[in-house]
Symmetry: D3
Subunit: 194 residues, 6 copies
């Protein structure tokens, strides 16, 4: 598979990159054991790269009521609706790890209604998909439904903003033909050895 | 109209804001004569604010083959497809100014196929709308069509990335009920006095 | 802009037209100060012209519970859903005047759910859009919802018939490439001088 | 079946009606042997009735390149797309008679692509359905396709205007729950006796 | 009409067919007076023919709470939604006979909401159409709605399975261009002579 | 995970089942090492079970130009379009094994246009998805496109019939909430040990 291009655009070498971007990529590699292709492919445009990951971190690493697994559920469900291969595979792997479930990501990508999640989480994903697919139809009742499941107005922003950010991310990945790393396939599917 | 909320979320006072955000807002006010509501409403979340405008500037102010008016055409056409009131009105005003046309923005928001633009610009908007509405169906032929109208691969990234960024922006505006400033209504519709 | 065709079909001279049609057009010009292009472009087919405006007047000038501004809201909302440039611009101008609001037309064309209107008016527009977009799905419950907002069965006919008539009108304008007069741009956006 | 209402609105008695409307209805009854329900149900609103049938006649009885059967094909195909029971049944009967085919109407209502018609007629119906379903996407190429099948610009207006008029008609029938007369069922399905 | 092909694929002669398939076809002919084209056209593939009719019989001839007319309503409604000419015409005829109504099949094919059926039958068809058109969105509430109309869980399987089987059947008929026999036109429309 | 129901309907014990069905299930278990849930859940209705698997085998095990991997590609692509979790997961596993690729199934389920397959295979999947999603629009040109890639008319039947059969299968799985076995997760993702 190594011969398949990971983007239809040029992929920069690490040495070519500005120091801050190279440092971020090396840090990811250190932690994950490989460099997810989203880093290498978006580095073709350094200014956009910086804004993209600043936005990503602001949403995915902030404090708040949503667990890390729940944030990844939003990513996987909306990426499934947008038919974005990279995000389904890459964030599916992260979801498996955070949720400690080998099967949850496939469930959420295909149909959250049948997934092994709580009804509160289903309400969260219904809201996220409405933002993803028909955001102009959002009305007060949608916030009220979230509130009935215990989500605050700030939680609603979190849910909607993650769906909105991955509306961008899915379109960029589809635009450039971003290819998921093969390494994602097994992550979270097999128990780690001690 | 002053009594209508400009967001369903709290809108910070300038004094409450971090220095860099307040400085940016004051600079916009200096230049435009008023503060577009996108600045005040998104300032509710400073980290997201910074990433949002960094991304915006990286796409809308970079060098490249697309004119400023063409970039705004992409914003207006895709915002029309997403039924985003704020972006139609605010970027419609900017488009009228850049294109020096009082009628172009309404045309592009409703139906670019009938707008007073070149066939090259129509090809640009057809590509942008495909990224906005069904990005998974983008194939090599779409890039070839752009190339036949003189657009390079880098231009295609610009077009697609603007459509992708406003996929995010439209969803955020719809999520929080962002209200356009009344000041946008007349901008670019009447000749400036000397 | 004067060089842009207002229709892909021949546009008759006033002198060529049958007396009744010329008289109607001159009366409109007298009142509005210009001749809206819908009159000149549809006059290419006199028999259809007569039926079109007879139908229009029967719906838009009849007595009834709907105000003139509300009827125009229905026109603007459904024309927005049908992406009909002529009707969005021309009836948007009329709506601004009747509603004495410079911003209402843009709101209703983009997304009535966020417009500065009453919940009764939102129910009216929801019904109109259902007639415009999926009329076969109308059931008793839709009339009951209208009734709960104070609309009679005859009001429901008014709302639905206006939506139905502009289903025709939007398609004719899109078919022939009807171009809105530039004069509509500023109507209702600026206060009248005394 | 006689107990089923033919409209959710009051249906006037002939005696109550204005003379011109009663005369038209009696003339139809004379010719057809029964009064199609569209006449009785729309007579609830005389001014709209007059405009409706004036428009209908202007399109369906004018001179032109389209045969009467072809005009009815357009009605049946677009009414099928709009799920309008009354128009499918009533105009299906008329189409069977004009085309002298007991099976053509069912074909055209379900799927014109498989109907026993010429490729020229299929191009006509493709254009009509584009007007019916997504008129804002009509471009010069659509007229060029018609021209390649021998249709003039005036023929294109005829095709599009019939589709546009029945966009109105289908919505009115769906709105008021217009019920087709049982008499239409057998019309054109069985050979006439001598 | 005899010259029109009943399938784009070869249609076997009865003599060429395996004994069991020929026997089934002769039995149908004996009972109906003609051989419906679905038998002749699918016999091009004997193994698929056997499975198809075994499945059909398992669903349409089993015991259960649904009447034969109700099962055919499901077929006609979902075939209408799938624009399948063969199934609309052939099963429309069967529905007319079972329901002893000359008009019901046209109603159900166009719009079950306006058909002369009970609200229980409308709930049945709403469920069937959800299975036909967006089966992934089926949730517990849909079964609850059926239960409120007296349908058991096993009835729900029956309804859904018929919709699912004709999802297959409609696609096969559309794929091969299966043509309905002319004989279906009058079946159930005229009273039988004694 | 063992506590999650594999169907909303009762699942029979092997001992309760008719001999032929039990024998088939035991044979599958012998070969695969576990019993895929489609066998256990559909066995709730023995007559339908028999027809289902007879149909399945007639299409998936027949001779023909399509390889076993290609048939599974059709299943996975159309099941992805129908959001059917069971078929995506179960047939995804089979596709990985037949195609000897750990990544192909995820690609085809999300977006075949970007998958590691030949242009001939992409034409095959485009045809299959047209049968799955809008079969009434299939015309001669679609067969011609297949022919240009070397597919015969009989191959076209194979492709279309597999898409049609899984239209049924996907709807049944969504109807009953069929849950994929956990065992599918790793199949074909890791190299077999010797």
């Amino acid at each position: 598979m190594a011969s398949h291009a990971i983007s239809r655009y040029p992929v920069p070498n690490l040495e070519q990159l500005p120091d801050d971007i190279r440092a971020r990529i090396l840090a990811v590699q250190e932690k994950a054991g490989f460099v997810p292709n989203v880093f290498l492919t978006l580095a073709h445009r350094p200014a956009e790269f910086r804004a993209f990951f600043a936005y990503h971190d602001a949403l995915m690493e902030k404090e708040g009521a949503l667990t890390k697994a729940e944030r990844e559920m939003i990513v996987v469900a909306t990426s499934g609706a947008n038919d974005c291969l990279y995000c389904i595979v890459a964030h599916g792997a992260i979801l498996r790890i955070y949720a400690k479930s080998p099967v949850l990501a496939d469930q959420v990508a295909a149909n959250y209604r049948k997934a092994d999640i709580t009804s509160r989480q289903k309400a969260m994903l219904a809201f996220a998909l409405k933002v993803a697919l028909k955001s102009s139809e959002i009305v007060d009742d949608d916030f009220a439904t979230l509130a009935a499941h215990g989500f605050s107005e700030e939680d609603a922003w979190d849910i909607g903003a993650i769906a909105a950010f991955f509306a961008l991310s899915n379109r960029m990945a589809n635009l450039i033909g971003m290819r998921p790393n093969d390494e994602f396939q097994l992550l979270g599917r097999v128990p780690k050895h001690k």
